[in-house]
């Protein structure tokens, strides 16, 4: 029998996708899930920590720049260092970069506007607990909704990410030319990356918004299903 993991969804002041992620985990995955309050250094024995989208601390100063100092983040960092799974979505990805748990940074979209639309992303690696249920090269329809989603990093970092297959999601298009589907100017059309241990993933698209065909796509549910089997797979 597989052991179902326990999830924790972090709530910062200004998080606004926390309830959506919670809903998917609880109602669709039927896994245990708790909210993790930003001011409390307590992960409530979570196996998997989700840092949701939104505007933590109003995105003041810089997206994610204040959130990295929240008491809960010390615990999240320790959890990741122990090999625990951490998923950062949108603002969560920005926070993970600001916290140096992932390399690079997310800057203003190349058109200088907020963009909300469904995009195509290719799964570049199934070799993570987040993507184990996807076939490699599967093209998923997942919405984005961000103003600062342009991924940048220096050339060495990009080379390292590419050579270690740490680019997990890449924007693509029906025309098969990846750059045609790049909505925000991200270098190498990067939509999501993982850390060296492959247990920390940051991604700009919102998989929790792609968990129902009625809402347009269920391709994101595969990511959560992968996670629900993560403990099992690790054994």
């Amino acid at each position: 029998m597989s052991q179902m993991p326990r999830f924790g969804v972090v709530r910062f002041p200004g998080s606004n996708c926390d309830q959506d992620a919670y809903h998917v985990i609880k109602d669709l995955l039927q896994c245990d899930v708790n909210y993790l309050w930003h001011a409390e250094p307590d992960l409530k024995r979570s196996d998997i920590v989700v840092i949701p989208g939104g505007f933590s601390y109003g995105d003041y100063l810089r997206c994610g720049a204040v959130a990295r100092f929240a008491p809960v983040m010390d615990e999240v960092r320790r959890h990741a260092e122990r090999g625990g799974i951490v998923l950062g979505i949108c603002n969560g990805f920005q926070i993970l970069c600001e916290a140096h748990m992932l390399p690079g940074a997310l800057v203003r979209n190349s058109n200088c506007k907020f963009i909300c639309r469904t995009v195509q992303v290719r799964v570049e690696s199934s070799d993570t607990p987040f993507t184990s249920h996807y076939a490699k090269d599967f093209v998923a329809s997942i919405p984005i909704a961000h103003g600062e989603g342009c991924y940048v990093a220096d050339a060495d970092v990009l080379a390292e990410l590419e050579s270690r297959q740490r680019v997990i999601f890449r924007y693509t298009s029906t025309s098969k030319v990846d750059s045609d589907g790049n909505p925000n100017g991200s270098l190498n059309n990067i939509a999501g990356i993982c850390n060296e241990g492959r247990n920390v993933l940051g991604m700009m698209p919102h998989p929790e918004r792609a968990c129902s065909t009625l809402l347009g796509s269920a391709d994101g549910l595969i990511l959560f299903k992968s996670l629900s089997m993560a403990l099992h797979a690790a054994k």
Binding site: P13, N16, H23, G58, Y60, F114, I115, C116, C211
Partner: protein, 750 residues
Amino acid sequence: MNLQAALEMGLNEAEYEKVVGILNRTPTLTELGMFGVMWSEHCGYKYSRPVLSLFKNYKEAQESGALENAGVIPLDDELGIVFKMESHNHPSAVEPFQGAATGVGGILRDIFTMGARPVANLNSLRFGPLSDVRNRYLLEHAVAGIAHYGNCVGVPTVAGEVVFNPCYNGNPLVNAMAVGVVERKHVASAAAGPAGSPVIYVGSATGKDGIHGATFASVELGPDSESKRPNVQMGDPFTEKLLIEATLEALATGYISGIQDMGAAGLTCSTCEMAAKAGLGMDVDIRKVPLREQDMTPYEIMLSESQERMLCTAIPGHEADVISVFHKWGLHAAVIGKVTDDGLVRIRDLGQVVAEVPARSLTDECPTYYLEASQPAYIDEIQAFDTNALPSSEALECPLTPTQCLERLLDSPNIASKRWITEQYDSMVQTQTVHLPGADAAVLQIRGAQRGIAMKVDGNGRYCYLDPFTGAQIAVIEAARNVACTGARPAAVTDNLNFANPEKPTGFWQFRRAVEGIAQATEVLGTPVVSGNVSFYNETPNGPIYPTPTIGMVGIIDDPSRSCGAAFAEEGDTIVLLQAYDHVEHGLGGSEYLSVIHEIEAGRPPQVDLQAERRLQEFLVQAIGKGMLASCHDVSDGGIAVTLAECCMLGGVGALVLMNPSSWEEHTTASLLFGEAQGRVVVTLKSEEAFEQLKEMAAEQQITAHWLGTVGGEFLRIASGTNDLISADITAMAQIWQDAIPRRMAAVAH
């Protein structure tokens, strides 16, 4: 205090005398300021109230003292839908980003102050033509302001409308609507708790911003309006997000007895309205109010329109329980006074009384005026315009072919795709949005409920300019038709009445006729007006705007998974036109075709048959509920040709259409293709056999179903008899339609 000060605060001489009479003494500066804002049209509805009594629900609520911040209708046995629309026109004219942003913030507070979680934002925008750099600036920044606020608070912006017309030069309209969901047995009240209850101030600290914003909204815009920039409030959506979560959490404790947001007229309005509604008084010390700067006078504190603030009363002994919730969310919360039983709003400054006013005198005793109305001189002349006198393409006097006319219409920003705008809004957060912006109406699946909500905003200033009664009715029926096209039953209305100066008889006539039209239409459709807002004085030295009532329609759908979209679905589907009126008129008066192709805005708007519209809507709900329709899109601006083009472009597929001439033999090519006759919807069916069944069902409701053609190919071809009228490549058409707004806006970036 003297008369001069009163006049500067927007009161007239008679009103000043009335204030002196009520107080039986000369008012203090603070008191005068309080009367000035509360007796402004913006807060007191002193000119519009007699006309608004035409709305039955409003009249009843007014008379029974049950007028709340927003209307509530049932979604099901447990949940209710709360919704309202409000304008932020004047602030947006001088500072579009903050003006539009705080418009969203203000309307959201009206929703969650009732204990409802906001689930959707909508908006209705009007600007002058994009050929003018100022209008591009206004559009760019108003949209950015709405996006900034709505995206950050995590409430999806799911639908709206944008219209461009020279009459809005210098006076854009920004109407924001919000929709929330509440447990029906836990609707919060704006009436203060019993005497002795502590009065608690929560949210942002008070600053010097927005003082006299309500008064600013109650005068015409002029050359000195730029100097009113300091009257525009600054919004902080981050604080609003915290306020939403904290307010809902605090209400759930059960220790809050009354709560109201601080909008126009700030602390003045919330104290006196909460007290008046309960028939009680309030004793408040303004030095206990959290302040952003310490050197504020009582006058400034009472009139500040700083955003993201609420006032509530708590059950005595539980103030700490309420305050701790707000503190947890990092917000200010402080007891600033208590409810009294003497009916007076008493304002103290460190104990010393600076204002003492009967609460009801500020609300219920606001003077009411019965203004003179007279039909403007232009009406007769402009309605006499004969669209039959237009140069026709048959006579080759119109230099454009029908296909070129269609392309020209698709390039009109009024008809063009609004994706440039809607993609800047987060339309998906909360993961309940079934139909995204661009559909006939947005549809939400409500988590934890079987039923869903459909909603749409509609208005047509040009029709209302030509005939405010009919134009306003068309706004109602079109909004209802849009909602019905998704399969939802239209249920209730919120309206935003944008008009010129009511103190001018012609302006007041437009207002009264439009309200009469809305009252009648909503009654026949069974969709009562449950909330709304009036915005007068929308005029500049160049003249008044077109009368522009906008209608926010909310509908209920039993099963959102059966809702219908506008896009043509599959090759081979049968295209059918449903027609609810016996006679299809030309419908070119006031049309987009007449405006774009002939540069004429004249004639009469299309005729309205409310009973037929109601039958059509009921039929659509029935047919979609049975799963009979593959797509459904209403015929409106640009006529049937534009409707068909939109269905094709949205579906990425062409269509072959034959307009059977026997049904439309008295029509010209222009009226056939681009006429805006009401009561029509284009639907598709999975099979030809289904057509007979649909036709029979429709006939029972006195609706005619015309077979139009078949979905397929890469072209939209429309023929009449043996004449090919239109032949247009879908990809090329879509390019024109998608590029129309970005192409014009590109001039801003450089």
